[in-house]
Symmetry: C2
Subunit: 137 residues, 2 copies
DNA sequence: GTACATGCAAAGGGTTTGCAAACGG
DNA sequence: CCGTTTGCAAACCCTTTGCATGTAC
């Protein structure tokens, strides 16, 4: 098992009811919600939960590499549970995020940095797009 | 001539002294300054210039496609005059930005979007790196 | 029990806006 | 001239923080 909850336990994080609620919301999220969305969803389980707690918990998870933060152009910060490497395509009309992998681009990025005399530490590759009229080729 | 000032005139923008000052600052900038830096540099020419004016002018230029805004991770918004297509490598220690081109990656991005059934509208490719210890290969 | 987490509201940083006065074309 | 732009300060949004209270281990 490698659930978010398990990872929290392994890290020895103190699991309050609020944190468990937020873990559940994040684990159930198939999209890339922002803090407000997480708070809204969490409120359905625990109507007393404060948004400051959501901010603090998300930051805690982020610091512990359980969550990844994305700041897509035109949106407030959005989060997803850390999984394998991938890039994002954002539908600018709906905000929907689609994921993709492309190991060739990954390799080229690393090489590009090396050629410029740097060691790659992190990257960002985001495609902003709209559904095409024609059928997918 | 294709200077920023010329582009402003062609667009019929009212050129106040403040705007001319900001245009000069931006034209002289070889880096990717944030609003505060632009304001500081502009203040050396016109000590009365207000930061709200800098914000408004930069937004005006951005809306008119004369400036490009970048929101690099960990920094406040930074700007550069629009030029040919290129990507950015950010030295996370200093904030210094290096530019590079890679047409193969460009092509792959477009193709990636198409394969997913989208038309690419915009993208973001940023490398975050530190100078490598070894000599550039 | 004790150190840490919570909720609230207030503060924070970067950016925007309302207003009266100044100014460009 | 008249509509636009400016400078100032207040408002703004999202996020963080101080504090007294509550809670997991």
């Amino acid at each position: 098992m490698d659930t978010l909850l398990n990872k929290c336990c392994k890290l020895g994080l103190k699991m309050t009811d609020q944190r468990k609620t937020i873990v559940k919301v994040l684990s159930d999220s198939k999209d890339h919600p922002d803090v407000e969305s997480v708070h809204k969803r969490a409120s359905k389980i625990d109507k007393k939960i404060g948004i400051a707690t959501v901010y603090r918990t998300i930051k805690l998870f982020e610091d512990n590499k359980l969550l990844e933060k994305h700041e897509f152009k035109g949106f407030s910060s959005r989060y997803e549970t850390v999984r394998e490497n991938h890039h994002h395509l954002i539908d600018i009309r709906t905000g929907r995020v689609r994921e993709f992998r492309n190991t060739l681009i990954d390799a080229m990025q690393k090489q590009m940095a090396k050629e410029m005399g740097y060691d790659l530490v992190d990257y960002r590759l985001e495609l902003y797009a709209v559904p095409s009229k024609r059928k997918k080729k």
